[in-house]
Symmetry: C2
Subunit: 286 residues, 2 copies
Amino acid sequence: MAKSSEGTSALTRVLAVLDAFTTDAPFLTLTQIHRRSGIPLSSVHRIAAELVDHGLLEPAAGRTYRLGNRLWEIGSKTPGALGLREIAEPYLRRLHDIAGQHVQLGVRIGTDVLIIERISAPDAVINGSIVGGRIPIQHSTSGLVFLAFGEPELLDAVIAQGIHPVTSAGPGTADALRAEVDATRRRGYALADGWIHPASRGLAVPVRGSEDVVVGALGAVIPNDASSPRRAATLLQETAHRISDALLRAYLPASHPRALPGGSLRALVASSAESMRYLERRARVR
Amino acid sequence: MAKSSEGTSALTRVLAVLDAFTTDAPFLTLTQIHRRSGIPLSSVHRIAAELVDHGLLEPAAGRTYRLGNRLWEIGSKTPGALGLREIAEPYLRRLHDIAGQHVQLGVRIGTDVLIIERISAPDAVINGSIVGGRIPIQHSTSGLVFLAFGEPELLDAVIAQGIHPVTSAGPGTADALRAEVDATRRRGYALADGWIHPASRGLAVPVRGSEDVVVGALGAVIPNDASSPRRAATLLQETAHRISDALLRAYLPASHPRALPGGSLRALVASSAESMRYLERRARVR
């Protein structure tokens, strides 16, 4: 892609503009975008105008801009995030009906966990995670899941960033983190008491896709009350197995006796059985 | 942004590559991207390599690519889609517990409705809508909501595209569509029996934000059984009022007595009350 005089590509600059918007700053003026992105103000003007033309930015009140619904639409077609979320959602919902508090589903981006779904109760304990937000792998039980059951190189990459616990309860050295990863493997689930906030305990288990690859982490955030975590861990494990089973059946050829209805759409869509058959027929016609 | 020899901008070409991926084709080879986007194969190679570098595309099985989780992450920060969805979700859930079948929430992009959330039951009737998918305004009850209660110019834009009903039950002329818009205004809700499929009835009502602007459409898809739609319409209207109230309270200054806890984060996040206070404090410190 074309390079600017500073040698950065057009795409890099567009992403810097989009990344200036965060969950706690969803509305920004052009000057604020310039300050947060480091892109020269004149370039911000030009890029923003083109992004508005394409619906990727939308003008909002007080000369601010917000990310556009077109971006949400493009993002909604990612199998690794929305596809997994759509398939897992009814199972998360059932788990939340039994367990209450917060239940959540994360995927890995680099050395962070990206939260793709979270169901909470109004009176649940403190939870630092938000849908669309990231948590560093070293701070979270979902991260421990990727360290314990995911790619072996990941632990070195996390340790190379330095260990920076949020609270004194979190691992403070590379050896302490390694010990937590070993304990997670032994237990079959990750447990973290007060790593993010003293009032909260995290629990997480792997969600596996085809060839048993870990595609996500299913977690719960519950009160840190020194009770046994066994019941919650068992519920999480049973739910993760059901999600893995639904994922595998979603990718089976339609002719397979265990395949879910919905054929080529399954990776992204979960609707009623009748609707899946209807959508499948409609997709075939096109 | 830099123009190619054909005069299209780099961003236009990137979006053409991303738009080649659809719900029923989430995995594509470079050749398939080239055919679907019309971008020359050599440019597709170059653009795809850069998109992979930025995590916007991810390599998948069989030399295919899929949209990357980074895209979902960026899209998850759009207030008009994810913010509305997060705030509306508990109300949609309660409505679904009572009404069953399909309940869904849509926003407008041009002359289409983009579905941002849908909750279904396994035994619900046929519903052609999928999360992240679009339905033309003229085919849907959510569309009627935007025509009846949204910007006045919209009806002319829809009629200018020509009227193309999906089934013989849908309006087949501009006058017939106008009559449905008038009926929707009189009733206060949109009703469509069998417009998408003979077995299904659609109902939808407006969700209003600040200054009573229509920001979304709350809909239900139920059996098309000639029963009175009153009870379902009343449930939808009550739920839409609750969502509008929560939206308004989400954007009030924290000092206001009716404001929800969560301050600057409210537009995008809905978690437990304790978590909202925690996230707000954390955002203030940064």
